[in-house]
Amino acid sequence: MNNKLKPRRPLKEKHYWEEWTGRIYTSICVVFLIVVMFSIVYFVASKGLSTFFQNGISISEFLGGKTWNPTGEPAFYGALPFITGSFITTLLAALIASPLGLCAALFMTEIVPGKGKKILQPAIELLSGIPSVVYGFIGLSVIVPLLRSIFGGTGVGIAAGCLVLAVMILPTVTSIMADALSALPKGLRESSYALGATRWQTIYRVIIPTTLPALLTGVVLGMARAFGEALAVQMVIGNAPHVPTSLLESASTLTSVITLSMGNTTMGSVHNNALWSMALVLLVMTFVFVILVRLLERRNRV
């Protein structure tokens, strides 16, 4: 018989090596991600915490102090104006963007399912594609003059900042809400219609309550984006280091102060370290938003 069977061993060995290259290569990629995340947290935290541990500024002064004057004698490192600025702009932007986003999502999924999606989906995607500096430019050349001519003053301030942010987070809010609404089982909707409910009654009494956690996820993710956005806000908010008392007043956010001052301070100085502490606040807030999203997702599963 010359029916020679090829020996199996080399083939298996080849498989063995192939198997391991794939496994090792992809694992390295994932390990890289983990290392990067932890080193970001480590480096930002070590810099940000040295303000408190090395320079002896108390945490309460940093978080609660209303005066920011790092170059004065004596110097003050109160970051409260920026923290309030960040929170106010973020909340207001979410307040404007959430109802708009919800309406857009309802339009796409409930009112005109097929056609609505065809009109709005590309619009939303294009909105999310416009870079943040371009939003800042538009804010500077449209919103600021508009506010100036309506309310007087300079036009820059919280109001301009949160309008720009609202448009920027609209795509995030809308697309997540639309996903949530279209994931709703058809039966719920149909049984409500079968009972003779109108469309609005169905939306208001059935659809929104059942999808609420998922809808809120969209709002939280939008807020996370607004909180970390730097340049667009910096361009229109005016950058004055005061706790704002009116919407038209010039103010600052954590991101805008970091953007403006980081380049002008020397590494290791107290002023510089205080800026890193603000970056640490941003980092901590990121974790807060991630935890919120996780909690909402858990609610959604039940």
């Binding site: 080849k14 498989h15 192939e18 198997e19 794939g22 290569y25 992809t26 990629c29 994932v30 890289f32 991600l33 983990i34 990067v36 080193s39 970001i40 480096f43 930002v44 708009l100 309406c103 857009a104 309802l106 339009f107 796409m108 009112i111 619009a123 995607e125 294009l126 909105l127 594609g129 416009i130 870079p131 500096v133 371009v134 430019f137 538009i138 050349s141 449209v142 448009v167 609209l170 409910a197 109108t198 469309r199 609005w200 009654q201 939306i203 996370a224 909180f227 970390g228 730097a230 910096q234 361009m235 991101t255 953007t259 980081m262 590494m267 941003l282 980092l283 990121t286 974790f287 991630v290």
Partner: protein, 295 residues
């Protein structure tokens, strides 16, 4: 009767607000084009910016943006696709996998400015790369990786199970199945995802201010030796990108035509980002047709 009236009012409010978004978008795009397009000329696209005089262009910035994008993709594609393949094919449900998912989620939620600061600390200072294209590319890679991992995972999960089972039935190794059966099927979505991510990279500025820097050395476009300091191809030179330039011109522009420069540069940036988005769809479709038997 009353419920029906409420229904009508609610419906019209929803429709009006939804159409408002479309009008908002058209208004925004119209405004950018109206303000910017008149200022775009060949000279504007190729000449260097002028700090104090008028008539400056965006040539080096445009080149820097494109070059930075290429460098970033060289770093991101192997890492992002690899990470996505791990999540789709190797990761078993359990504590470790959900931990990796959390890491990806956190990483994608970090504000870009924090990633820029991290780049400043680690890449620019610690590793001594200075304000350079390479620091910028690495920072953008961090910014972009989580998105890439997620789209890759989705692309691989979307491949029909039968394809993989057929490969297993042939006795192929897992890696062979991934590279020669799953990858070609997933390729159209991978390419679409990568181009969409490129659009994001192109418009990103906050992460670049502290890594790639806010200035460009005078470039000599006849010098293509990557090691010489004035060569455009030198990855260790500082580089201001288009998006950073727009920010700088808007916030501290002192030239007499800084408004026009900002408008023109914004229009160029938006046109390029739109081109990325449209080409992503188109290329995805073409590759899909090539790779599969569908028409």
């Amino acid at each position: 009767m009353k419920a029906k009236t409420v229904d009508k009012i609610a419906t019209s409010v929803i429709v009006v607000l939804a159409l408002f978004i479309v009008i908002l978008l058209l208004g925004l795009l119209g405004f950018i084009m109206y303000r910017g397009i008149g200022h775009i000329s060949w000279n504007f696209l190729t000449s260097a910016p002028q700090l104090l005089k008028g008539g400056g262009g965006i040539g080096p910035q445009l080149f820097n943006s494109i070059f930075l994008l290429v460098l970033t993709l060289i770093v991101t594609i192997p890492l992002g696709w690899g990470g996505g393949i791990y999540m789709a094919e190797y990761a078993k449900p359990g504590k470790i996998t959900s931990f990796i998912r959390l890491v990806v989620e956190v990483l994608s939620s970090f504000p870009s400015i924090v990633i820029g600061l991290f780049g400043l600390l680690l890449l620019v200072n610690q590793f001594g790369l200075g304000f350079s294209l390479i620091s910028g590319a690495l920072a953008l890679a961090i910014f972009n990786l989580p998105l890439m991992v997620r789209t890759t995972e989705q692309a691989f999960r979307a491949v029909p199970k039968e394809q993989k089972e057929a490969g297993l039935a042939l006795g192929l190794s897992k890696w062979k199945i991934i590279t020669s059966i799953l990858l070609p099927v997933a390729l159209p979505s991978l390419i679409t995802g990568t181009i969409l991510a490129s659009g994001r990279i192109f418009g990103e500025a906050a992460a670049l201010m502290f890594t790639a820097g806010m200035s460009s050395p005078p470039l000599d476009f006849t010098d293509w030796n990557p090691t010489s300091p004035r060569s455009p191809l030198n990855p260790f030179r500082p580089a201001e990108t288009l998006a950073v330039h727009i920010w700088k011109v808007n916030s501290e522009g002192i030239g007499p035509d800084s408004k026009e420069v900002a408008a023109g540069a914004s229009a160029v940036l938006v046109i390029l980002v739109l081109a990325f988005n449209l080409s992503a769809r188109w290329i995805g479709r073409v590759v899909f047709r090539r790779m599969t038997a569908s028409k």
